[in-house]
């Protein structure tokens, strides 16, 4: 029982990253049908910004979080403006190939400018150490990140349900042309959505650095695949569903490995795709209802 509980608590850290990425992912997915495979690279750029602030310049951690958000937002908006906007409305497959191309460009540029090796990430002092709950170990950093993600999630749900911007987002996701003809500035709403989703990726990037202690150029690949599957499971466009599905995927993946014989640990990437195929075959609309909610 303790083993099971320990596994679940251990996967909360990665779960938070996947949940944040999936929430950002599902918003652009639901809004303009964009399958943003470059989201993982937006995440990676945020992590590198935080790495420069924390490890090389040795500045305080709140500045690192702020700069990671700024870096992610700048890259996210640049990608939207230069690559996705010119082809908006030309089908999901075109958008998918463009996203793939952009993610290759950003990842390989990072490898070119820096290199592909792991880069150590300084963890701030107050996040070091553990809490003991009986025999279960809880890392302070995991708890901090989990609570922050919960707060972010509540704010996000409030934003989408009750504010003017959120209502605009929902109406665009139902019918873009109708929203436009009613005088809504869809361009502005799309940019706001990109800013929110990139900012979530930026915070996820700092969490990744704290949890794993290092960043590298290919870190976005694994995370974005998990986030994509989480957004499909949660129902496309459903932010709360994506967050819950992100945690489900991380915990499920960890338990899958924990109860498998040790020489099959390499099969970890299979779990996500098995879940993906089962969901798409038996419940294609996802576990929760679709459209931005």
């Amino acid at each position: 029982m303790n083993y099971l509980l320990q596994q679940i608590i251990n996967s909360l850290g990665f779960g938070s990253i996947v949940a944040l990425l999936a929430a950002g992912y599902t918003m652009t997915f639901g809004l303009i049908g964009l399958v943003n495979f470059a989201h993982g690279e937006v995440f990676m750029v945020g992590a590198f910004t935080a790495y420069f602030i924390l490890t090389i310049l040795k500045l305080p951690f709140w500045l690192a979080i702020l700069m990671a958000l700024v870096g992610s937002i700048i890259i996210g908006l640049l990608v939207e403006r230069l690559a996705f906007k010119p082809v908006r409305g030309s089908g999901m497959i075109t958008l998918f190939i463009i996203g793939l191309g952009v993610s290759q460009i950003l990842r390989n540029s990072t490898v070119m400018l820096f290199d592909a090796r792991l880069k150590g990430f300084t963890v701030s002092g107050f996040l070091k150490g553990v809490y003991m709950l009986g025999e279960v170990i809880i890392f302070k950093k995991t708890l901090f990140i989990f609570l922050t993600v919960l707060a972010i999630c509540i704010i996000l749900v409030y934003l989408i349900k009750n504010t003017k911007v959120g209502i605009a987002m929902r109406s665009i996701s139902y019918d873009t042309q109708m929203a436009q003809s009613l005088g809504m500035n869809t361009e502005r709403v799309i940019i706001i959505t990109f800013i929110i989703s990139s900012a979530l990726a930026g915070f996820a990037a700092v969490s990744w650095g704290y949890i794993y202690g290092s960043v590298h150029a290919a870190m976005g690949v694994h995370a974005v695949v998990n986030a994509f599957v989480a957004s499909v499971i949660g129902g496309v466009g459903n932010v709360l569903g994506a967050v819950v599905a992100g945690y489900i995927i991380a915990i499920g993946g960890n338990l899958f490995i924990a109860f498998l014989p040790p020489d099959l640990v390499g099969l970890r990437p299979l779990f996500v795709w098995i879940v993906f195929f089962i969901i798409l075959i038996f419940k294609p609309s996802g576990l929760f209802r679709a459209n931005i909610k």
Binding site: V35, M92, I98, G101, I105, V232, F276
Partner: protein, 343 residues
């Protein structure tokens, strides 16, 4: 009259084949080292691009999982072409003994690999039954990762080594020209028109009496067979099999070929293969850094993938149909072109 026509036909074929053999013979004599390898890589890229075009361009199921098919075919062929003492010794493979103790020539191994690839490719039809459009695309992405993971966990992440250099210019270009010829004939036939009809509108095609399942099976089987052949030739050219090498970056290059060349066009695929081969292999030495007139250009690994990505994005934004669109360059095309010039 009928007799004359048939003899004309035969003369055309004999002349065509002898010209091709002469060119290949000349190439074999003239080229060596880097340029010979490059010429063979160009042929392999043509095979991969044309076979991917069958599923992605014609029947409209955008697959990014062909790396998995290549991997399966290459593994199956490698189990038969590797020398027996390597299989038992350094590589320490855990295989049934009848595979462990046989070593076949290249042609039977090629056929076995092709058949295994076809079987794996037909597995891809299963998601194609339920998923459409983008979801199929994501499913094949998962298929690629699943195949890669399984390969890494059967023989370790280092894969296989100690291949015999079977691939030569005759194998590569013989198969490439066969693939071009077969796909050209298929495109002109009833089957090819059925493929393209499915790609344009699956529901309408079904109403016209086209059996969707049957033609999906044909398309995926044909595509997977050629892709597996391409994978086997590639592995026996670079002489090692590394499961990570079949990941999304390889598939991305092949996708870039058909998107740049034009989806659904055979000549477009060939042009795309030429462009990507030029980028990823001729310009590759630049990545390692060099000195030009006393300036030291530092090494920039990954530069070529960046350039291919930029090219792909620019083509998709400025000319979404690619260079050729769905048109083909053939002899008739030239004749029509000249005729319109004269009048």
């Amino acid at each position: 009259m009928e007799y004359m026509k048939r003899s004309n036909f035969i003369i055309k074929y004999v002349a065509g084949i002898s010209v091709i053999i002469f060119i290949l013979f000349l190439m074999e004599r003239l080229l060596s080292g880097f340029w010979l390898t490059l010429f063979m890589l160009f042929g392999i890229n043509i095979i991969l691009a044309i076979s991917l075009n069958i599923t992605n361009g014609w029947i409209g199921f955008f697959s990014v999982g062909h790396g998995g098919i290549m991997l399966a075919g290459a593994y199956a062929a490698a189990f038969f072409t590797l020398p027996v003492f390597f299989k038992e010794g350094i590589l320490d493979l855990k295989l049934p003994s009848f595979i462990l103790h046989t070593q076949l020539a290249f042609l039977p191994a090629l056929l076995i690999g092709g058949i295994v690839g076809t079987v794996v490719g037909i597995i891809l039809v299963l998601p194609a039954l339920r998923l459409r459009g983008f979801y199929f695309c994501a499913g094949t992405l998962g298929f690629n990762i699943i195949m890669e993971t399984i390969a890494e966990n059967t023989n370790g992440p280092m894969g296989l080594r100690q291949f015999l250099p079977y691939t030569n210019i005759w194998w590569v270009w013989g198969i490439a020209i066969l693939v071009i010829y077969i796909t050209w004939m298929v495109k002109k036939s009833y089957i090819g028109r059925a493929f393209i009809a499915i790609g344009k509108d699956p529901d309408l095609a079904e109403h016209m009496g086209i059996n969707l399942l049957k033609y999906k099976l044909y398309a995926f089987g044909l595509s997977a067979f050629f892709t597996a052949l391409g994978g086997i030739l590639w592995v026996h050219l670079i002489l090692n099999l590394f499961p990570k090498a079949f990941n999304l970056i390889l598939v991305f290059e092949v996708v870039a070929m058909i998107v740049i060349g034009g989806m659904g066009s055979i000549t477009g695929s060939i042009i795309g293969a030429a462009i990507i081969t030029f980028f990823s292999d001729i310009l590759a030495p630049i990545e390692e850094g060099f000195s030009l007139f006393g300036f030291n250009v530092p090494s920039m690994l990954g530069l070529m993938t960046v350039l291919i990505g930029v090219l792909l994005v620019v083509i998709l934004i400025k000319k979404p149909d690619g260079i050729m669109g769905e048109k083909e360059i053939s002899l008739g095309f030239f004749k029509k072109f000249l005729r319109t010039k004269q009048t």
